[in-house]
């Protein structure tokens, strides 16, 4: 009974739970309710991945309407994997959330946060699970609207302008995507992704298809914060409540990258995207620019959440770089980094959440000598920072290894050099923080006794940190899935 309906449950559970949060409203109760829902969602995703691994692609017809007329949920290895990442981050983040949300948003408004959180989660999962292009747009809007709410709940008044800016950018991105879908519908008469893939290939590259491709590529680039249309991201991440930043940084852009991959490889097919439209060269140049510019700006930030946000701009560059190479190794490297970056940025933003909780600021100047007061938190920053740099035995190393071998495979020496250069810049911006928190004396008048973050925050944070190392050593799951997914995509799978 339950097992055949898992794909529907993946979305229904968090989506229905969200309005219930508003009804429950009482602080502690609403938190535990959200936490349970998030973990159930994660369990569903894990079961789905297991199912896909065992029995292959799952087709789920909503309401029993057969595709291409009805809405179809289609789960293959690629999105089962993304579902797992998103729901795992969702569950871990909510486990960490309570002290931070109580403090930053206030207990009386907490239920609003949890409602928006669950809506955002279901939106992101929906985007990932659905096999229908218009449905993607719908879920994209659900996740976007709820993330505007999440960001604007930030304590800093600048959170409002940041949310507004994101709203403008996000709407432009989603609208562009919708225009593209509309044009495709006009040409093919279908919205089902698998069906679209077949029909677009038959029609071939005429002007309408080309324009649709352009609109969708640009729109998704905005949503994924690909340089140079990344401007919404740094402020949104910097001023959002800590928990919202953790969740969005580790999931939202990843999901956009996922649709981007779907669009290039499944709807338009690699031949069209990379040979006819020569998307590969464009993506690689933009990706490399993102890596260099993002890292360079990160070096000069004094607000560490902002610094990590610019680092995200750079890391998105790595993912897009892999996609742009359009080879099995490259796409595998890109998708691997999608997973790995979620782990490292999730962990690092959790560290910043702890710092914010204790000292009420994440400015570098206020963090002087903090390691003596928060030793576990700062040790976590060092560990997460090493992963961000890409030191061996961390996840960061694994994805960079694949990206570099992919670049060598195509003899793109300049790309190899620039990946390395960007890693070296990561050393600089991570080490600035390490040096300040470990080697600077505590500012005069600051309390000197130990003030570690509460265990409820420390434990999930260290789970994330250890995951960075676990998946850096035992790569069977992540590399295995990423390689299979990449073979499937590059082969034009649908």
């Amino acid at each position: 009974m339950i097992s055949p309906n898992l794909p529907a449950l993946q979305i229904i559970v968090p989506l229905l739970a969200a309005p219930l949060c508003v009804i429950i409203r009482r602080d502690a109760l609403v938190y535990w309710f959200t936490a349970i829902v998030a973990w159930v969602t994660f369990a569903v995703a894990a079961l789905l991945l297991h199912e896909v691994n065992a029995n292959g692609v799952i087709d789920y017809q909503l309401g029993g309407w057969a595709p291409p007329w009805g809405i179809e949920y289609r789960i293959d290895l690629v999105n089962a994997y993304v579902l797992l990442i998103v729901s795992a981050i969702g569950a871990l983040t909510i486990s960490y959330a309570k002290p931070s949300v109580d403090q930053e948003i206030g207990e009386e408004r907490g239920y609003l946060f949890y409602t928006a959180y669950l809506l955002c989660l279901s939106g992101l999962l929906g985007v990932t699970i659905t096999g229908d292009a218009f449905n993607i747009f719908v879920f994209l809007e659900i996740s976007s609207l709820s993330s505007y709410t999440l960001i604007s709940l930030g304590r800093d008044r600048r959170a409002l302008t940041a949310a507004y800016r994101y709203l403008v950018f996000g709407t432009i991105g989603a609208t562009f995507f919708l225009i593209g879908v509309g044009l495709l519908y006009q040409m093919t008469g279908t919205l089902n992704i698998a069906d679209l893939g077949e029909r677009v290939a038959v029609i071939g590259p005429n002007r309408t298809i080309t324009v649709a491709f352009g609109f969708m590529a640009v729109g998704l680039a905005v949503k994924a914060a690909l340089f140079p249309v990344h401007a919404w991201l740094p402020n949104a991440y910097a001023y959002a409540p800590s928990v919202a930043t953790i969740f969005l940084a580790a999931t939202a852009t990843k999901v956009s990258i996922y649709i981007l991959i779907r669009t290039y490889f499944t709807i338009f097919k690699p031949d069209f995207s990379f040979f006819v439209m020569s998307l590969g060269e464009i993506l690689m140049v933009l990706a490399v620019l993102a890596m260099l510019v993002g890292s360079a700006i990160a070096i000069f930030q004094t607000d560490i959440k902002r610094m990590l946000a610019y680092s995200s701009v750079a890391q998105i560059g790595y993912m897009v770089l892999g996609v742009g190479m359009a080879s099995v190794l490259g796409v595998a490297g890109g998708t691997l980094h999608l997973f790995n970056h979620a782990l490292m940025k999730g962990a690092l933003f959790m560290v910043m959440g702890c710092v914010m909780y204790r000292i009420g600021s994440v400015k570098l100047d206020n963090m002087q000598g903090l390691a003596s007061r928060m030793p576990w938190t700062m040790a976590a920053f060092v560990a997460g920072g090493l992963s961000l740099i890409g030191v061996p035995l961390t996840v960061g190393f694994v994805s960079k290894w694949y990206l570099i071998t992919a670049a060598l495979d195509q003899e793109l020496w300049w790309v190899v050099a620039l990946i390395i250069a960007s890693s070296l810049m990561a050393i600089i911006y991570v080490w600035r923080v390490v040096e300040t928190v470990y080697l600077s004396p505590l500012p005069a008048g600051a309390p000197t006794e130990r003030q570690e973050a509460p265990l409820a925050m420390l434990a999930p944070m260290w789970v994330m940190i250890l995951a960075n190392f676990y998946f850096g050593v035992d790569t069977r799951l992540s590399v295995g899935v990423a390689l299979d997914a990449a073979k499937f995509l590059v082969g034009g799978g649908s």
Binding site: V391, V398, I420, A421, I427, L439, P441, V479
Partner: protein, 487 residues
């Protein structure tokens, strides 16, 4: 217990030791006891492995496979065995010395110091035992990161600046160059294992060989090949025990050890000498030897002078490897041991002088020998060994390297070695002469004896004795190392 279990123990002992030291942070006596016990236990484990390797055994330890074909694997061979013996053996003496030094100087945050020290030794063991370039690279990076808190121990602005230079050059070169070389090796040959005769033969030819060698040699920043040597003088801001064991023995020797490993087991000396694309390396190393010696002469700070001397001596080993002859490789390997014993003695003495008198500048050390005769005699013995004069151990390795240069018909490098020996005399022996014979700053020619604490004096006397002992027991070491030359 099988040899693989022992290898695992060699890694586990220092790691567990570090945890225990951290737990004993509140009780200094217990903490230091644990440090010493760990050091002794590690040395015992390492010694137990020697007979197996001497008998020609190559014990293996496989941990896990990170990516398909990319394994965490440890294989013990003579070169690594020797390096492990030196690092673990000297760690015992250095721990005793640390106790004397750190307590006398009333240093802050001593627990962090001892923990990081144990972790650095753990990393050094990883370097010594590693069975492929991937494992070696990881251990190499762990060594860099764990020694960073030791370099910046004093937390002064100067220490932070030096720490930046240290980390920037070492991490930068290893990620920017060495990692590229490793990935390229993997891409070109499909393996990163160390093999007799190398892995490149038949897979790579032409200028690519030279490029790869360049990436490796400058990627191994710890070998301090000029112009990537700046981190070593910068690291001298650390407490002297750190300079003594890590920046004269473990860290820098890990660098030249890697150089030897890469040249002998990845490229293969035959392959490189036939290809002709590696000839430039010997010239760079030769220039490094002479330039560093010349700079050493200009330094008045004793530790800075010793640091430049180390840079020069490290290039001996790089030069020996770059001769691409079996004899050269063995000579270079032997110099790792000989120089370690001599240089750690010199650093111990420098630290002892600083502890007893607070003096760091050579020009202030007139007449110091009358106050600290034991220390300065040890310094004299250490100097002779570093210069390479009998009856000190250092003479054998220089002799072998010179023979290697003759062997490959490169007389010019024999000349380089001889000139360098003269320069060594010029920058080391005046310190001793002035210490014993010059009147001190007030013109007095007599003084009462006031040595550093016993915890400092005993280790430096032992290492000085070691320099002499190595002269008479060089033959067994030579025989032990012969297999790496393929003879």
């Amino acid at each position: 217990m099988s040899a693989s279990d022992l290898m695992l123990l060699a890694l586990v002992v220092p790691a567990v030791g570090a945890c225990l030291i951290a737990l004993c942070g509140k009780a200094p006596n217990l903490r230091e006891t644990v440090t010493l016990a760990t050091a002794v236990a590690l040395f015992a484990v390492i010694l137990n492995l020697v007979p197996t390797v001497a008998a020609g055994g190559r014990p293996e330890l496989f941990l896990t496979e990170v990516l398909p074909g990319l394994e965490l694997r440890f294989v013990l061979e003579p070169l690594g065995m020797m390096f492990a013996c030196i690092a673990s053996g000297l760690w015992i003496l250095n721990s005793i010395y640390s106790i004397g030094y750190m307590r006398a100087k009333k240093e802050q945050k001593q627990t962090r110091f001892y923990v990081c020290f144990a972790l650095a030794i753990f990393a050094a063991m990883g370097v010594a035992l590693s069975g492929n370039m991937f494992t070696l690279f990881i251990s190499y990076e762990v060594l860099t990161v764990t020694t960073y808190p030791l370099v910046t121990h004093s937390e002064t602005p100067e220490a932070r600046r030096s720490g930046r230079t240290y980390l920037g050059l070492l991490l930068g070169s290893s990620i920017g160059l060495q990692l590229v070389a490793i990935i390229a090796t993997w891409y070109l040959t499909g393996t990163l294992d160390f093999r007799d005769g190398g892995v490149f033969a038949g897979k790579v030819e032409g200028p690519v060989i030279g490029l790869l060698l360049f990436l490796y040699m400058y990627g191994i920043g710890k070998a301090a090949l000029m112009p990537l040597h700046r981190w070593l003088p910068a690291a001298m801001v650390a407490p002297t025990p750190v300079s003594a064991l890590l920046h004269a023995v473990a860290v820098v020797k890990a660098g030249v050890f890697t150089v030897l490993k890469v040249i002998v087991y990845l490229f293969g000396t035959d392959f490189l000498s036939k290809s002709g694309y590696g000839d430039w390396l010997a010239y760079i190393a030769g220039a490094s030897i002479l330039l560093a010696s010349l700079i050493a002469m200009t330094k008045d700070n004793l530790k800075a002078r010793l640091a430049y001397s180390t840079i020069s001596q490290l290039s001996y080993i790089t030069l020996a490897a770059a001769l691409f002859t079996p004899l050269g490789a063995v000579g270079g390997a032997m110099h790792i041991a000989m120089h370690a014993m001599g240089k750690i003695t010199l650093f111990f003495c420098a630290g002892a002088i600083y502890v007893a008198s607070g003096k760091t500048q050579i020009s202030d050390m007139k007449g110091i020998g009358r106050i600290m005769p034991v220390t300065l005699i040890a310094f004299f013995i250490g100097s002779l060994s570093v210069i390479g004069l009998p009856p000190m151990g250092g003479s054998w390795s220089k002799y072998l390297i010179a023979l290697g240069a003759l062997d490959s018909d490169q007389i010019i490098f024999v000349a380089v070695l001889m000139i360098s020996s003269l320069l060594n005399i010029a920058y080391l022996l005046p310190i001793v002469a002035r210490g014993f014979f010059s009147p001190d700053s007030e013109g007095a020619t007599t003084a009462t004896i006031k040595e550093a604490p016993l915890f400092c004096v005993i280790p430096l006397s032992l290492t000085a004795t070691g320099c002499v002992v190595l002269f008479f027991f060089a033959e067994p070491i030579y025989q032990f190392l012969l297999p790496i030359g393929g003879g």
